[in-house]
C-alpha cells in the first residue's frame, strides 16, 4: 500500500522534497490526495493546539498563576484574555494560509489551475 511511503515522503511543508512529478497525469492519484489531506490535518491540529493553549489555557484555566507575572503593565493572564489571545488568533490564520499554499503546491492540488496548464 502506498500509505507508508507518503508518510516518509512528506515531513514538513517547505522541506526539500521531490517535486510533484505526477503533474501531468489525467487525475490526481489517490495516494497523493491522501498524503495531502494528512499533511493538512497534521498542520491544523498543531495550530488548533496553540489556539486552545492561548485562550482556554493562558486566558482561562491558568489565568490566576499567570497573573503573578506582568507584561507592559498588564497582569499576564488578564493580558492573554483581553489582548494576547486575539493577536495570536490572527497570526494562526495567516500561518495556516501560508503553510497550506506550500502544502498544496507540493502535492499539486492548488487551485491556480490556469497557471498549471494541466487538468490538475
Amino acid at each position: 500500500m502506498p500509505d507508508k511511503d507518503d508518510k516518509e515522503v512528506y515531513h514538513h511543508a517547505g522541506d526539500n522534497l521531490p517535486v510533484h512529478d505526477q503533474h501531468d497525469e489525467e487525475t490526481l492519484s489517490e495516494e497523493r490526495v491522501r498524503a495531502y489531506w494528512r499533511a493538512n490535518v497534521r498542520l491544523l491540529t498543531r495550530l488548533l493546539a496553540v489556539w486552545f493553549a492561548v485562550s482556554f489555557g493562558a486566558g482561562i484555566v491558568f489565568v490566576e498563576p499567570l497573573n503573578s507575572f506582568t507584561l507592559g503593565g498588564f497582569p499576564l493572564g488578564f493580558w492573554f484574555a483581553q489582548q494576547g489571545a486575539i493577536y495570536v488568533f490572527m497570526v494562526l490564520i495567516f500561518v495556516y494560509a501560508y503553510q497550506m499554499r506550500k502544502i498544496e503546491h507540493h502535492f499539486g492540488v492548488d487551485d491556480d489551475a490556469e497557471d498549471e496548464g494541466g487538468t490538475v
Partner: protein
C-alpha cells in the same frame, strides 16, 4: 454648528454613500445576488466580513459590558474572535470549494437529504431573526439618542435604507456597502478611543494605554487603579473573575463555535474567487475585527474610571465646574438609562456595589429635591444609589471626556453603520435560504433564474418588514436570547458542517439526528431558564454542571456529536457518490471551474 446638526450631516452623508454604492453595484443575476458573482477581493471581503460581523452589540454594548464585568467580559473578546480560527481552519476553505450559495445547500447535498436541508433552513432562520431584531432596535436607539427622534421612526428609516441596498444589490450591493460601513464604523470607534486614552494615560494607542500608568500622579497603572477603586467600593477587583471557571470556559467555547457556525458569516466566504482566498480572507477579517476588539477593553476600562471619578461623590444639584454631577449623567437619566435614588437624602451621588433598588426601574414622573427623577421602586438596604444601563458607555464616552461635537456625530454614524451592515447581511441569508433552499431546491425545482431572483427580492422585502416589526415591538425576551443565536449555531450547524467535511462515515441519519438533538437540548435549556414559563431559578446552583444558558451551546454541540456518531454507526454507510463529493471538497483544485457553472 450644534452637535445635533453635525450629527444629521454625518448620518445623512453616510446614507447617501451607501445608497450611491447600491446603485453602482446592482445585482443582475442570482449568482450576483447570492455570492456577489464570486469575485470579491480577499481584503475587501475581509472588511465586509468585519462589518457584517460587528453589530450594534459590538459597537455600542461590548465596551460597556467589559467596563462593568472586567475580566469576565473576556468571554466576548476571546469568544467572538477565536471563532474565526475555527472558520479559517475547519470550514471556510471547504465550503468555498463546494461552491454553492448557502449553508443549507451544503448540508442538503452532503447529507443527500431534503429533510437535512429543511432542518438547516429552520436553524438558519431562527438564528438570523433572533439577531436581526436586535440590530433594528440598535438603529432606533442610536436615532433616538443622537437625533432626538422617536425610536420607532429611527427603526423605519433604518428599514428604508437597508431595503434600498439589500433588495437592489443583493450580496454584491451589500459587500461594497459593508466595506464603506466598516471604514465609517472603525474610524468612529477609534477616534474617541484615542482621545480618551490620551486623556487618561497620555498614550495615543488604547491597546497600550490600558496597561499604562494613569496621569493622576498616583503612579498606579490603569488596571491597578481600577482594582483598588473597585475593591474600595465593594466590587470584585477588575482583573479577577467573578463567574466560575467552568462557566467562563463554556461560554467562551459556545461563542467561538457559534461564531464559526453563523450563516451570515459563513456565506461571506462563498464570495471570494479561490479556496486560498477564503483562508486569507478570514485572516483579514479577523485583523479588521481585532482593531475594534482590542480597543474595546481599553475603552471599557477608561470609561469605568471616568465614570466613577466624575459621578461618585458629586453633588447632584451643583454646577458641573464646582464638583457637581456631570451633564451626561442627567442626559441619560432623562432618557431612562441612568437611575439615581438619594437614599440618605444628602444630595450627593454615592456609587458602590449592589443593586440600589428592587425590580426593574419604574419612574413615577415626579422630580425629587435635587431635581432627580423619582422611582416607584423600593430602595435596598445597601449604600449604592446608582443604577446604570451598561449600553451607555460608548455613546456617553465622548460626552464624559468632553470631546468636540463632530466626534459625537461620528459615533452616531458609526453605530448606525454597525447595525445596518449586520442587518443587511442577515436579511440576505434569510431571503436566500427562502428563495434558493426552500423554493428552488425543495418545492419548485423548475423555477427560472429570473424568477428565482424575483423571489429572492420578494423574500428580502418580507424579511425586512418582519425585522422592522420586531424592532418596533421587541418581544420581551429578545435581549435575553442573544445567547440563543450562538447556542443554536454551536449546537446545530457547526457540528453538521464540520462532520460533513472531516468525517466521511457521517451519514444522513446521523447528521439529522445530531442536529435535532443538539437543537432541542439547547433551546430547551435556554427556554427553561430564560423564559417565564417554567418558574426556574436562573442561578449557578440550578445549572447543569454550573454552566449558564449563555454557555450551554457547548454542551449542545457535544450532544450533537455524540448522537450523530451513535446513529451513524447503526445505519447504512454514506453512499459512494457522497464520499467522492467529500474527496472533491477536500482538495482546492478546480474551485474556479466549479463557480463558473
Amino acid at each position: 454648528m450644534s452637535t445635533q446638526v453635525l450629527t444629521y450631516i454625518a448620518v445623512g452623508l453616510s446614507f447617501a454613500l451607501y445608497i450611491g454604492i447600491a446603485i453602482w453595484s446592482r445585482a443582475g443575476s442570482t449568482k450576483e445576488f447570492y455570492v456577489a458573482g464570486g469575485g470579491v477581493h480577499p481584503v475587501a471581503n475581509g472588511m465586509a466580513t468585519a462589518a457584517d460581523w460587528m453589530s450594534a452589540a459590538s459597537f455600542i454594548s461590548m465596551a460597556g459590558i467589559i467596563a462593568f464585568a472586567g475580566y469576565d467580559g473576556s468571554v466576548y473578546l476571546m469568544g467572538w474572535t477565536g471563532g474565526y480560527v475555527l472558520l479559517a481552519l475547519l470550514l471556510a476553505p471547504y465550503l468555498r470549494k463546494f461552491g454553492q450559495y448557502t449553508v443549507p445547500d451544503f448540508i442538503g447535498e452532503r447529507y443527500y437529504s431534503r429533510t437535512a436541508r429543511v432542518v438547516a433552513v429552520v436553524c438558519l432562520i431562527a438564528i438570523s431573526f433572533t439577531y436581526i431584531a436586535g440590530q433594528m432596535r440598535g438603529v432606533g436607539v442610536v436615532f433616538s439618542h443622537f437625533l432626538d427622534v422617536p425610536i420607532n421612526i429611527g427603526v423605519m428609516v433604518g428599514m428604508a435604507v437597508v431595503f434600498f441596498y439589500a433588495v437592489l444589490g443583493g450580496m454584491k450591493g451589500i459587500t461594497y456597502t459593508q466595506v464603506a460601513q466598516y471604514c465609517v464604523l472603525i474610524f468612529a470607534y477609534m477616534t474617541p478611543a484615542v482621545f480618551i486614552s490620551m486623556l487618561v494615560t497620555g498614550i495615543p494607542v488604547p491597546q497600550l494605554g490600558l496597561g499604562a500608568e494613569v496621569l493622576d500622579g498616583s503612579g498606579q497603572t490603569v488596571l491597578q487603579k481600577l482594582d483598588t477603586t473597585l475593591v474600595d467600593l465593594g466590587f470584585t477587583p477588575y482583573t479577577q473573575a467573578s463567574k466560575s471557571m467552568t462557566d467562563i470556559f463554556a461560554i467562551t467555547f459556545a461563542l467561538m463555535v457559534g461564531t464559526a457556525g453563523l450563516p451570515h458569516v459563513i456565506v461571506r466566504f462563498f464570495t471570494v474567487p479561490r479556496v486560498t482566498d477564503a483562508r486569507v480572507s478570514a485572516g483579514y477579517a479577523l485583523f479588521f475585527i481585532a482593531l475594534l476588539y482590542t480597543t474595546a477593553p481599553a475603552v471599557g476600562a477608561f470609561a469605568r474610571i471616568n465614570f466613577i471619578e466624575t459621578v461618585n461623590g458629586s453633588t447632584y444639584a451643583a454646577p458641573e465646574e464646582q464638583g457637581g454631577t456631570p451633564q451626561f449623567f442627567k442626559t441619560f437619566e432623562d432618557i431612562g438609562l441612568i437611575r439615581w435614588v438619594d437614599k440618605n437624602a444628602d444630595g450627593v451621588v454615592q456609587y458602590s456595589a449592589g443593586r440600589p433598588f428592587d425590580g426593574p426601574a419604574e419612574f413615577n414622573g415626579k422630580r425629587g429635591p435635587s431635581g432627580e427623577r423619582l422611582l416607584t421602586n423600593l430602595p435596598t438596604s445597601n449604600s449604592n444609589e446608582v443604577d446604570v444601563d451598561r449600553d451607555i458607555m460608548v455613546l456617553a464616552n465622548p460626552e464624559i471626556a468632553k470631546l468636540p461635537g463632530w466626534v459625537i456625530a461620528l459615533v452616531a454614524a458609526g453605530g448606525i453603520a454597525a447595525a445596518l451592515s449586520t442587518a443587511a447581511g442577515l436579511l440576505l441569508v434569510i431571503s436566500t435560504s427562502i428563495s434558493h433552499d426552500l423554493l428552488k431546491k425543495t418545492f419548485r425545482p423548475n423555477i427560472s433564474d429570473r424568477n428565482e431572483l424575483h423571489a429572492a427580492r420578494g423574500a428580502a422585502i418580507i424579511a425586512i418588514l418582519v425585522a422592522g416589526y420586531l424592532g418596533i415591538n421587541p418581544p420581551g425576551f429578545v435581549a435575553q436570547v442573544v445567547a440563543l443565536a450562538f447556542g443554536l449555531a454551536a449546537a446545530s450547524l457547526f457540528p453538521a458542517i464540520l462532520m460533513g467535511i472531516f468525517v466521511k462515515r457521517m451519514n444522513r441519519e446521523g447528521a439529522i439526528a445530531g442536529m435535532v438533538a443538539g437543537l432541542l437540548f439547547t433551546v430547551g435549556y435556554i427556554a427553561y431558564f430564560k423564559s417565564s414559563w417554567f418558574d426556574a431559578v436562573n442561578t449557578a446552583d440550578h445549572w447543569l454542571f454550573g454552566i449558564s444558558p449563555e454557555g450551554i451551546g457547548s454542551v449542545g454541540m457535544l450532544i450533537n456529536f455524540a448522537v450523530a456518531f451513535l446513529v451513524a454507526t447503526r445505519t447504512a454507510d454514506t453512499p459512494d457518490a457522497i464520499k467522492d463529493l467529500v474527496d472533491d471538497i477536500r482538495i482546492p483544485t478546480g474551485a474556479g471551474v466549479a463557480h463558473r457553472h
